[in-house]
Amino acid sequence: MRPHFDRLYRLAWRLTGQKAEAEDLFQELLIKAYGKLDTLAKINEPGSWLSRVMYNLFIDERRRFARRRLLTVEEGQMPGDGLADIPGNEDPVQHNERREKIRALDAALAQLSDEHRIVVLLHDTEGYKLTEIHELTGLPVGTVKSRLHRARARLREILTQSGTFS
C-alpha cells in the first residue's frame, strides 16, 4: 500500500480541503484496508481500488466532513489560511500578487459545491483524466465534463465579482 500513500493523501486533501479532515479520511481508509488485506492482495490496481474506497468513505461521511469545515470557519479561520509555500516568481511583488490570487481562488473554491470543487481540483490541479474521475466517482464522463465546465465558469464569475479579475 505504501507506494500509493502520497497520491491517496493528496486525494484526501482535495476531497476534504482541510488537513485534519484529510488525515482523518486517510486514517479511515487504512483501517478499512486493514480489514481487506486479502482482497487487496488479489487486486491488479490497488491504487485505483484504494482511491475508490476513499472516495466512497468521503461520500458516506460527507456530512461529518462538511460539518467540520463549517466549524473551522466559525472558529475564525479565513479562507486561504494555511496555504504555505505557494510556488511563484522570485520577484516579491509578483509573488505577493500571485499569493493574493491563490487566496482568492481558495475562497472561490470554498463557494463551489462539493461536486464541482472535487471535479475541478482532481482534473485541473491533480491532473486526473476525465476517465479516471469517471472510474473514481462512478459518474458518466459526460457528467464529469459538464461539471468541470460549470465549475470553471463559476470560478471565473466569483473571481470577477471579487475584483481578482477586472
Binding site: F5, W13, I31, G35
Partner: protein
C-alpha cells in the same frame, strides 16, 4: 464564443489551479497512521467477531475457521469475511487453542504451515517459528489443537496456511499476552 478576455481569465484560472498548493503530510504521519490502523483495525474486527456470536467460542479457546467451499467451484459457505479472531494468553502459561477447519469436502494430502510470531511458541517445538506438515481433512469439522506458550509479552499474529493442489488460504489469529 468566449471573448478574448474571458479566455485569458480561463487560462489564468487553470494556471492558478495547477499551482494550487497543499501541505505535504508530516514525515511521521504515514508511520503513525499505519500503527493506528493496525490497532484500530484489530480492535474493530475483534468487536465485530465478538458481536457476531463467536465471542463465547473465542473465550473458550475455540476458534472456528470456515473454509467450506474454498476448494469447490461453487462455494457453499461464505469465506470472504477476513475477520481476525483473537485470544488472550497469560505469559508463560500454556494454552490450547483449538482450530476448527470446516471443509465442504474431504481433502487428501493438504499442507498445513503454522507460522508463529516472536514470543509465541508451540509446545514441543521450542524456538521454531514455522512448523509444517501434511494432513488430510475430512468433510465437515476438523479439529487441530495447538498448545501455545507465550514466552514474551509482545503477542502478535499466528498464521495458518493451508495448501491443497494449487490453491491456498491463510488464516490469521491474533494473540494478546497479559
Amino acid at each position: 464564443m468566449p471573448s478574448d478576455a474571458s479566455a485569458e481569465q480561463d487560462r489564468e484560472i487553470q494556471a492558478l489551479l495547477k499551482d494550487y498548493p497543499m501541505p505535504a503530510a508530516s514525515t511521521t504521519f504515514y508511520d503513525q497512521a499505519l500503527v493506528r490502523a493496525t490497532h484500530e483495525g484489530t480492535r474493530r474486527q475483534r468487536n465485530r467477531w465478538l458481536m457476531t456470536g463467536f465471542g463465547s467460542a473465542v473465550a473458550a479457546g475455540l476458534v472456528l475457521w470456515l473454509i467450506g467451499g474454498f476448494f469447490l467451484t461453487t462455494p457453499v459457505v461464505p469465506v470472504a469475511d477476513p475477520n481476525i479472531p483473537g485470544v488472550t494468553m497469560t505469559l508463560e502459561e500454556p494454552r490450547t487453542i483449538n482450530l476448527v477447519f470446516a471443509s465442504a469436502s474431504a481433502l487428501d494430502s493438504a499442507m498445513l504451515t503454522v507460522t508463529l510470531p516472536d514470543g509465541i511458541e508451540l509446545a514441543g517445538f521450542p524456538g521454531q517459528r514455522e512448523i509444517a506438515w501434511r494432513t488430510s481433512l475430512n468433510e465437515g469439522k476438523n479439529f487441530l489443537p495447538l498448545e501455545l506458550i507465550a514466552v514474551s509479552p509482545i503477542g502478535g499474529e499466528v498464521l495458518a496456511r493451508l495448501e491443497h493442489n494449487d490453491r491456498d488460504r491463510t488464516f490469521r489469529l491474533r494473540i494478546e499476552v497479559t
